[in-house]
Structures are given as structure tokens and as C-alpha cells.
């Protein structure tokens, strides 16, 4: 992954303090967001290396969701820029960002309630015939071990099942970058471990995963790289071990 800086075409786009020579699929560069008088994000920067699992954690109110929504296009920042695959997507709509090859899940389940799981998946397939879409949906349900849910109504599913179906649905788009909004929050450790396994497999297949969460245990386990947010600023970054050892993190989070 590490190339000499001189061969790195995006060196000028990289926020200060970020190691050169990485192929970054997502760059958040000095993004700020204010809600009324309250500062939700204060010049937050981060990068997500292609093929990595990168997480953002932080206590409630640290700006995680704001950051996520800005990356996904649901919010527009007051300052700074977001680049996906080297393209400025700061002002893109969620739909345009989706077409850049970005799939997403939602913090609170947004499955189509009065549609079956199969229909949830097939409905959003793009550029596929019905047969191809159904085939892909079956593959994904198989992969996530939720084939038995195929004909269940979205509204019938448990909280954890919804998380899995949302992941399957986002994968229907064959994204290169997956945004996961609190994939581990509020589900039992067994299912958390299952999701970690699946994310690991997906990463090995070349997908980049970026997520926010506050389940410290699981985040330390799954991430290649981790950012810690507190009061709208990035207070630490690095591999899980380094972050765990960082005294600033202990003070803000634990």
C-alpha cells in the first residue's frame, strides 16, 4: 500500500497530518457543521483507505452521526469537503452519492416495512434483469445466512434481523464503499460477532467499509483504523491498540 510520495497523485488533496502514499477511497477534509449555536463538527478530517474497515467512535453528541450524514449526503457541511474516489461529493445528494458506488445502512431500520425481504432487495437493484436481481438477492441472503427470512415482511423482523437485511440490501448495489450507521448498536454479542465475520469476508472481497458506532469492544475488534471523535473534533486516530492506549481517548470516552 505504501508508495513513495512522489508517485502519489492525490498528495495535494490530503489533509495535513495524513500519511502519503495511501489509496484513499474517502477523504473528509476539515468538515464543520453548526446547528444553531451548537458546534456539531469542528474541522474534522479523516481518510478511509481502500479495502479497509475504518470506524469512527465517540460518545453521544460527539458528532458521529453528523459526520456520517455529511458523508452520505443527507447533510451539507458549513465548511470543508468530502471526496469519494477523488471526486468532490460535498454538495451531492444522497442519490448522487449512491450512484458513486456507495451503499448505506441506517441507524434506525428503514426497511420497506410492507414489502418482503426479497422485495426489499430486488426493488433497489440497478441495471439488472429480474432474474439477475433475484439471483443476486438469493446469493446475499445466503451469504448473510438469512435465507429463511426471504418471504417475511420487513415489519415482522427483529431488530437484529433488520440490521442484516439492511446490509444485504445495501450490497445489492454492488458498492465499492459501504457506509454502516451503528451496525452493532443494540444487538446481542453473538449477532455482533456474526456481523464482524461478514464484514471481514466482504473486506477480503475488496469492499471498503466505513462505519460509526459506540460499541467499544466490537469496534476495537473489527477496525483496521479507528478515529475517535469528541465534541466535534478528531481526538485520536490509528490502529485499535494505539487508540486504546491513548490517554486523550481514555479521558473523553471511558
Amino acid at each position: 500500500m505504501s508508495a513513495p510520495a512522489i508517485l502519489d497523485p492525490h498528495a495535494d488533496q490530503r489533509p495535513a497530518g495524513v500519511a502519503p502514499g495511501r489509496d484513499d477511497i474517502l477523504v473528509v477534509d476539515g468538515v464543520s457543521k453548526r446547528f444553531g449555536g451548537r458546534v456539531a463538527l469542528d474541522a474534522a478530517s479523516l481518510t478511509v483507505a481502500r479495502g479497509s474497515i475504518t470506524g469512527v467512535i465517540g460518545p453521544n453528541g460527539s458528532g458521529k452521526s453528523t459526520l456520517f450524514n455529511i458523508v452520505a449526503g443527507a447533510l451539507k457541511p458549513d465548511g470543508g469537503a468530502v471526496r469519494i474516489n477523488g471526486r468532490d461529493t460535498t454538495r451531492h445528494s444522497p442519490a448522487q452519492i449512491c450512484r458513486e458506488g456507495v451503499g448505506r445502512t441506517f441507524q434506525i431500520s428503514r426497511l420497506f416495512a410492507e414489502m418482503t425481504v426479497l422485495e426489499n432487495l430486488v426493488a433497489i437493484a440497478h441495471g439488472k434483469s429480474d432474474v439477475q436481481a433475484v439471483e443476486r438477492a438469493r446469493e446475499l441472503l445466503d451469504f448473510l445466512e438469512i435465507t429463511a427470512l426471504r418471504d417475511r415482511w420487513g415489519s415482522e423482523l427483529s431488530y437484529g434481523q433488520r440490521k442484516l437485511v439492511e446490509i444485504a440490501r445495501a450490497l445489492m448495489l454492488e458498492p465499492t464503499l459501504m457506509l454502516l450507521d451503528e451496525p452493532f448498536a443494540g444487538i446481542n454479542p453473538r449477532l455482533q460477532n456474526r456481523i464482524v465475520e461478514h464484514l471481514d469476508t466482504l473486506r477480503r472481497d475488496g469492499l471498503t467499509l466505513f462505519f460509526i458506532d459506540h460499541e467499544m469492544r466490537i469496534v476495537l475488534e473489527v477496525c483496521d483504523e479507528l478515529y475517535v471523535l469528541a465534541e466535534g473534533r478528531v481526538i485520536a486516530r490509528g490502529d485499535p491498540e494505539a487508540v486504546r492506549a491513548d490517554p486523550a481517548v481514555a479521558e473523553a470516552y471511558f
Binding site: F112, M115, E119, V122, A123, A133, V134, W153, L173
Partner: protein, 341 residues
């Protein structure tokens, strides 16, 4: 394949009726077919896409006037109805971009306002429309109009059956279920909504023109009658919103009940119809067809069965991943109950 069979049977019955039925039966069926067509059209945007509204009569009224004016100018009623349909579709295209930005009750009320605007235009531009006096036409033969309405109604039932099993239909449902999420997942909601709106305007435009021909008269109060609107919506709600057979069931039931009550209790009948609709909405809020599907009675067609059949037919792709054992519990029929969430 139950629905194509049903359509064939209906077609056969409608073909025989003019030869065996009375003038009264024919005239009743004309009204029934008219409302069936209106109900199916409204179901596309209101039932599938979830954009319920009170303004379909704007397209009906426009169609009635376009048809009446063209017939007055010497056109045959059939091409006049075609032109009326086209005018309604164009109006839907022009309005769609603006009106479909509104959501929920704002769209519903906005469309109602639009129908009132239409009515007032018809009153105001009396140089063209003769204002409140209305336009009079030479009476046409009933049977060809009946045939045209039968073709439109059957085509809409078949079209809805196809829609119910198509990706387009599923995508309309994603708009109904969660438009924001659908958009974030790449569903092109704006163009789908406008397309659905245009499709849902086509038949009301034509039916409006055929209605004017049938009455040999049209005035603003008849063309833009709120009662036409409310009856149509009541039929879809009673039969089942967003289902293939709901509008048909609702239209037949409400038309028959209407006719029976109207002849027996001329003073009370509207009140009684109101009570029936109220009862239906209270006890079967998703309509008869959805209530039947929920009970899983054998003879009820499962919604959107085509996709499920396809999933059963497509051979399991060899993904090289862990698969669930074949003993996975059999999928059960979907439950279309109303949920509090």
C-alpha cells in the same frame, strides 16, 4: 395465472351483457366501468406510490371538456377521448414536477385545490366552455361507449396485475414505504413518481370525455364533482389500497350497494353509504382484499407472487459460501396487517 383468467371471464361477461341485459343494466354497467377505471388509475399513484390525493377529478374534468369541445368541433367521440387522455397526461407531466414535491396531506389537499381551480376555469372561460350553462352534445349510441369503457377498465386491471409483479411496481412501493431511504439507495424517485402520476391521469382523461359523450352534456359542477372523487377513493379504500383486485372489488361493491340503497331509501342512501364506508375503514383499514390476504384464504391471490415464483425457480447459485440447510422453515404467507409502527 388467476388474474388473466379472471380478466378473460370478465371480458366475456361484458361482451354478452349488451345482448341479454336491459337498457338499465347497460347504463348501470357503464357507470360501474367508469368508476372501475377511475379507481384503478387512482390506485397507481395513491395505492402503489402512496401519494394519496383528492384531485383526480381535475384530469377527469379536463378530459370531459377537451372531449366535449372536440366533439363540438366535429370530431368523432373516440379520437376525442384519445385526445382528452393525452391532454390529461400532459397536464400531469406539467403539474407533476411541482405538485409531487409536496408530501402527505399537503399533496392531497394541493391536488384538491387544483380540481377547484379547474372547476373555476371551466366557469370563468365561458367564451369556450359556456360557463355554468354547460356544453350540450348530440347524444351518441350507448353500446360503443360501453365497449370503450370495458376495454379501458379491463386494460387497467391487466396493467395493474403486470405492475404488481414488475420492478416498476416494487419501486413505487419503496416510495410509499420510505421515500428518503429509497432515494438514498439509488431509486430514481422523482421520475418514477411523475411517470406514475402521468399513467394515473391517462384513463381519467379518456373516461371524462366518454362520460360527457354518455351524458351528451357537461358543465363545471358535473365535470369536477367532488362526489366523483370521493366515490373513487372510497372504492379503493374499501377494496384494498395498492392491490390488484382491490379497486374492482370496491367499485363493484359500492356501485351495487349505492344502487340498491338509492332506489329503496332515496333520502337516507348517502348517509347509509357513509356508514358502510366508515364501518369498512374501522374494521378493515387496509380494505377487503388485504383483509382476505391476511386471513390467507386459499382462493385469494398472494400479492406480488411473480417475484416469489421467480426466486423459487432460479436455481441456487453456487456461491461457495455457507448455505442454510434445506430444512429452513417454509416461508409463510405474508401478513398484511396494519402495524402501529
Amino acid at each position: 395465472m388467476r388474474i388473466p383468467l379472471l380478466i378473460l371471464a370478465l371480458g366475456a361477461a361484458l361482451a354478452i351483457l349488451p345482448f341479454v341485459g336491459s337498457e338499465y343494466a347497460l347504463s348501470f354497467t357503464v357507470q360501474l366501468l367508469m368508476f372501475t377505471a377511475l379507481a384503478y388509475s387512482w390506485n397507481i399513484i395513491g395505492g402503489y406510490a402512496g401519494y394519496t390525493h383528492f384531485g383526480q377529478v381535475a384530469f377527469f374534468g379536463l378530459g370531459a371538456y377537451v372531449g366535449a369541445l372536440l366533439i363540438g368541433a366535429g370530431w368523432h367521440w373516440l379520437p376525442a377521448a384519445g385526445a382528452a387522455s393525452l391532454a390529461a397526461v400532459v397536464l400531469a407531466l406539467v403539474l407533476g414536477g411541482a405538485m409531487l414535491r409536496l408530501k402527505g396531506s399537503f399533496f392531497a389537499i394541493g391536488m384538491y385545490g387544483l380540481a377547484r381551480v379547474g372547476e373555476n376555469f371551466a366557469l370563468g372561460f365561458d367564451g369556450i366552455t359556456q360557463g355554468g350553462t354547460g356544453l350540450y352534445l348530440t347524444p351518441a349510441d350507448l353500446k360503443p361507449i360501453y365497449a370503450a369503457l370495458a376495454v379501458i377498465a379491463l386494460a387497467l386491471i391487466y396493467g395493474t396485475h403486470r405492475l404488481d409483479n414488475a420492478r416498476f411496481g416494487l419501486q413505487l412501493l419503496t416510495i410509499r414505504e420510505d421515500e428518503t431511504a429509497a432515494e438514498a439507495l439509488g431509486v430514481r424517485t422523482t421520475r418514477l413518481k411523475i411517470a406514475a402520476f402521468m399513467i394515473s391521469a391517462a384513463a381519467p382523461g379518456a373516461v371524462g370525455a366518454l362520460y360527457a359523450t354518455y351524458l351528451a352534456f357537461i358543465d363545471p359542477a358535473t365535470a369536477f364533482a367532488p362526489m366523483t372523487e370521493l366515490t373513487t377513493i372510497a372504492m379503493v379504500l374499501l377494496g384494498g389500497l395498492g392491490t390488484v383486485l382491490g379497486p374492482l372489488v370496491g367499485a363493484v361493491l359500492l356501485s351495487v350497494v349505492n344502487e340498491l340503497l338509492w332506489s329503496r331509501f332515496p333520502e337516507l342512501y348517502l348517509g347509509l353509504v357513509g356508514v358502510i364506508i366508515l364501518g369498512a375503514v374501522l374494521f378493515m383499514p387496509r380494505g377487503i382484499v388485504n383483509a382476505v390476504a391476511r386471513r390467507r384464504w386459499r382462493w385469494s391471490a398472494a400479492p406480488r407472487a411473480g417475484l416469489r415464483r421467480l426466486a423459487d425457480a432460479v436455481p441456487a447459485a453456487d456461491t461457495g459460501r455457507r448455505a442454510l440447510p434445506e430444512t429452513a422453515p417454509a416461508p409463510r404467507a405474508p401478513d398484511v396487517s396494519v402495524r402501529s409502527t
